[in-house]
Amino acid sequence: MRKKPRVGEKVVVGIIWTAAVLVLAVLAAIIVYILVKGLPQLSWEFLTQIPRNMGRAGGISSTIVGTLLVTAVAIVIAVPFGVGTAFYLAEYTKEGIITRIIRFSAESLAGIPSIVYGLFGFIFFVITLKMGYSVLSGGLTLAIMILPTIIRTAEEAIRTVPNSYRETSYSLGATKWQTIIKTVFPSSLPGIVNGIILSVGRCVAETAAVMLTAGSILRMPKSLGDSSRTMAVHFFILASEDISMEKAYGTAALLILLIFLINVVANILVNRFAAKRR
């Protein structure tokens, strides 16, 4: 009676171990493969030269700049709106119909596929507002895309600030605005920044929405009105159109390194945040 479940249990535990090891192996294989193929491609020239001959020769400097610009525009636009919304939700209003609508909207926005953002950005920014394929169109589209993430992470961070902080502040005669700016905001900052960093990662990795709004020009963008190709789009075009596998691996490796870096920074912040709260 007692023996049967034990044999079964061993099998099940074996399956669970196998699944976990399989997952780790597949994931490690993907990363290691790209890095092994791509890292040798990275060189000073690769990082600093403009792509030539459609990307077959030269480096990827303009796509790096394009990625940074598009991401910067998205962050600069989305952060004030996102963090402001989060403060409104967490500090200024009781649970009610408005908060429910806002939260429903944010959650719905979070689930919309990036291609739909791309469609919207294309028809709204590129066509209707006549911004054309440009860094600005791409950045604005991405700003909308990352808005829900920023709202959600910021709201969470604000809510984890202990109420005693606020009460202390009020008892010292501070107004609500002063309490928020001087007490709540600094304490929730690491959490907010973490959400921003995660959003940076999403912007860097996004392909479909950027391709439809920022275009795919390989030239170095001179202003925010210029079209530009981001690294992720460049990688997609190099790999799917069979232009240059070497450059594709190099671009992918650089992307993965960049994302790795972003994650490490985010982790450090989260740990510091957690340590502070303890």
Binding site: P80, F235, N263
Partner: protein
Amino acid sequence: MKKFKEKLSGLAFLVLALSSISVLLLITVFIVVQGASSIGREGLLNFVFGMKWAPSQDIYGIFPMIVGTLSVTLGAAIVGVPIGLCTSIFLAEFAPPFLRNIFRPAIQLLAAIPSVVYGFVGILFVVPFIRNFLGGPGLSILAASIVLGVMILPTVISICEVSLLSLPRQYKEGALALGLTRWQSILHVQLPAAKSGIVAAIILGIGRAVGETMAVIMVVGNATAMPESILDSVRTLTTNIGIEMGYAFGEHQEALFATGIILFVMIMIINGLAQSVVRRKSK
């Protein structure tokens, strides 16, 4: 003065919040306005259940693509969910601390890797494998299912793990005290208790699979015909937009926006499901 400032700051936050949500409205309105005329022209039923997509002849039917999206998503769930669930149980219950410390950041990293990289790996390994050992052109429902299945793993694993870990310790302790084995405790006590979190994880994973575009374009083949087997090439709603958007204008473009509406509706249904599950959990 002080009071005025207080009011102003409250108002400012409200304005920020309202402008954030008005974006959702704006997106919905624009997509619907752009696509509605196409659906109006074709008729909703003809559009949704039409079997043929031939923009050059002004024929727009997306039923094969709806089937494509559903089959690829189902495949991704079949590939990703059991493995993801097992891995999350492993992380929550069995993993030695050092493995857990490797796993967690690795899974975070994987969630952040551009989807095009997954698609590329699919082209390099999954597609040739299917072509050589199972037949067909390789670009297929199966290939897309595998690639998407791997892509949704991080989502499924991390959310399932969180909901397993957030269970009160007494559940497990009580089960073990009653003489259940570790696995019996997991199967009969912990998993049922964490059910809504797990369901939410699966739905979110499915949402990601439905919405993915670039990785799918690379491995699914994009044929517009109705698939007959999982080794057939198929087109999904997202790839239909992704592959033709740059080329389209006029009625063709409107039909792609109409495709977007259908996709939008599907995602809203999925989101609604996920939110109601999460809400039930919090009650």
